[in-house]
Amino acid sequence: MRRVVGSNYATSHAVMRARVEVIAAYPITPQTQMVEHIAKFINDGIMDCEYINVESEHSAISAVIASQAAGVRSFTSTASQGLALMHELLFSAGGLRLPIVMGVVNRSVGSTGGIWVEYNDSMPQRDCGWLQMYVETNQEVHDMILQAYKIAEDKRVLLPIMICSDGFILSHTVEPVELAEQEEVDEFLPKYEARHSYLDPKDPIASGIVTPREYRQEFAYQIHRAMLEAKDVIGEVNRDFADKFGRDHSGLIETEFVEDAEVILLTLGTVTSTARGVVRELRKKGKKAGLVKVRAFRPYPAERIAEVCKDARAVGVYDRSVSFGVGGPHYLEVRNALFDSDVPVIDFIGGLGGRDVAEADVRSMYDVLLEAAKSGKAKRNIEWVNTRGVVLG
C-alpha cells in the first residue's frame, strides 16, 4: 500500500509488520510520533504486542534487553539525549548478543544543541557492539527495519542494530512510502526462534552473570568477529529483500558515477539525496564527480570504500558530527580505509545542530575536491562547511 507518510510512521508500520512482541519506548522529539503511532496501532487492535510505557529511555532499553534475553522479538526507539541515557545499557545488549532493533532518529545531544539533526548522538555509540545503518529516505527506513531483524537475528551476527534516520528531515517530512503487507513480510521474515538466549524455567540459563577476566576478552573477540561477518549478511539480506519486494538498497554502500570519477564524496544519511542532484549536475558540465552513500557505519565497509576510491584523485567525506580536535568520526573511518593510498582525503563537517546542507554547500565541497584533484593535495584536511568566519578551501 502506497501512502504519503513521515519516517516515524514508516518505522512504526514496519515494526508492526515484523510482528515485534515487546516494545518499550519513551517519547523524545523528534521520535515522539513513533511511540504515538504504535500506541494507536495497538489500541486500534491492528497490532498485537506488549507495549511498556516506561518512565525513561534507560528503562526502555533495560526492558527490551530483558524481553529479548527472554527470547522474544523486541523493539525500542529514541533520539539524542535518550540515546545518551541508554548508553550504559547499549554495552549490555551487545555483550549479551541480543538482536534488538532500535530506531534512532538522529538529533544533537547536549548544550549548544537543540532538537535538530546531528550525529553526535549515534556516533559515540559506535563501540557498544551494535550495528549501525544510516538511511536516506522514508522508504528506506521502513525497509531497513524489516531487514534489520533478519540481519541481527542471523546466527552469524546475533548483535543489536540501530537504524539511524535524520530527525525532522525524515521524521517530519512526508513522502510516498510503499508500506509492506503482512503476508509478504511473513514470507521474508520468519518468526524469531531464540536459540542462544531465552529464559524458561524448563531449561534454566544464567544470562549476563558478572564475568571475570578469564572470559571477557574471548567474548569481545566473538563480537568483533560477528561484526565482520555482518558485512556479508547485510549484503545477503539486501538481495533477499530486493527479490521479495523489488527495492534494492544495495547493501553496505551505494554508488553513483564512481567508475571513472576523479573526485568522490562519501555521505551518510539524507545529505546523499541533495548530493545526488549536485553530482548529476556536475556530470552534465563534464566534471568527473562521483558519490558514495555509506549505509553501514558498523560494521564499516572499509574494503569496499578502498576498492571504490582506488582510482579517485580526491576523496571527500561528509560528517554530521565532530570528534573535537581531530575531525569527523566518518572521516577517521575513511582515512583508515584508505591507509595505503596517497589520495588527498578531505573532511567536510557541516549540518550540525540541524543547519541546512543545501545544494550550494554540496557544490562547495565538490569545488574543494576538484581543486585538490588538480593540485594533487588538500589545502586542509578538515573543512568546516557554511560556518561563519571560517573560509572553505
Binding site: V22, I52, E55, H58, I65, S67
Partner: protein
Amino acid sequence: MRLKLKDLPEENIFSSGHTACAGCGAAMAIRNIAKVLGKEIIIYVPASCLSVFNGLFPSCAWTVPYHHTVFENTGAAISGLSRAMKRKGLDNVTVVGIAGDGGTADIGLQALSGAAERNEDVIYICYDNEAYMNTGVQRSGATPHGASTTTTPVGKLTKGKQDFKKDIPLIMMAHSVPYVATASVSFPLDLINKVKKAKETKGFRYLQVYAPCVPGWGYEQSKTVELGKLAVECGMWFLLECENGRLKINREPKMNNLETYLKMQGRFRHMDEKQIAELQESIERKWEFYKGYAELTQRLYGGSEASV
C-alpha cells in the same frame, strides 16, 4: 493456610556454595524466599552483593533462569521479563527482582517507581542491609541516622550519617500497588508467609526484608538473627503489610532496647546520648505515624484489626 517451616522444601533453589560472607543476612533471606517462590520463577539481580555472591561466570547459585545487566534498572528489567513471559504464554512463571537497598532506595528508585505505577505483574524484593555493602560500606538512602559508613565516617566535624533513613515501603504504599510488606530474616514465619502472599497476588508486589550485614555493621557473625529481632523490638524496623491500600502492623514494637541494639554494632558505637535521643525520637514519630496510618487505611478500605 499459613506456611510453617516444615512446609518449605529441602531442595535449594538458591544453591549452597555461594560466596556470601559467613553469617550473611541477605543470603539467609534469599535462600528461604526462593524456597517459598519455588522453581517456576525467573530471577533478575542488579549490581549488588548478591550479583557477586551468587557466583561469577560460569558459576551460578541459582537453579532457575537468571538475568543481570546493570545497577539501576531492576524495575524496568523485570517489566520486560514479565511482558516476555506473557507473550510466551508462560503465565505460571513469576518474575522476581532482587535488589539491595542502594539499588532500590537510590539509583534504582526511578525504575522501581515506574514499574509500580504501571502495576507490572512482578515481585520486587529489596534486601535491606542499610548501605552499599558490595563496594565496601558506603552510605545509602536506607542507612539509618547515626550509622558510620565509609562515606559518613566518624570524624572531627560529624559522627556518622546525619540524615535519616528513607522510608521506601511508605513510598511504595503511595503507589497504590496491590501488595507492600516489610519483613525480617529474624521472623521466619512472618517472612515466608509474606512471600507466599506476594506470590499469590497479581500485579506489582514489593517486599523489603531487613538483612543484617556482618562486615558492614560490625558485629559478631553469629548475631545476625539476634540483631534482627532487636531491631523490630526497638522500632528500628517495623513489620508491616499493606494489601490493596489497607495497612496492617504485624508486630507491635516494644520501643525499648534501642541502646542494646546500637551498642552491639560497630557502626553505632560512637553515638552519644544526644544522637541516640534524636534517633529514639525519630523512630517514635515514625511509629505514631504508622499506627495512625494503619487506623486510617482500615477506616478507608475496610477490614478488621489494625494490628495483630
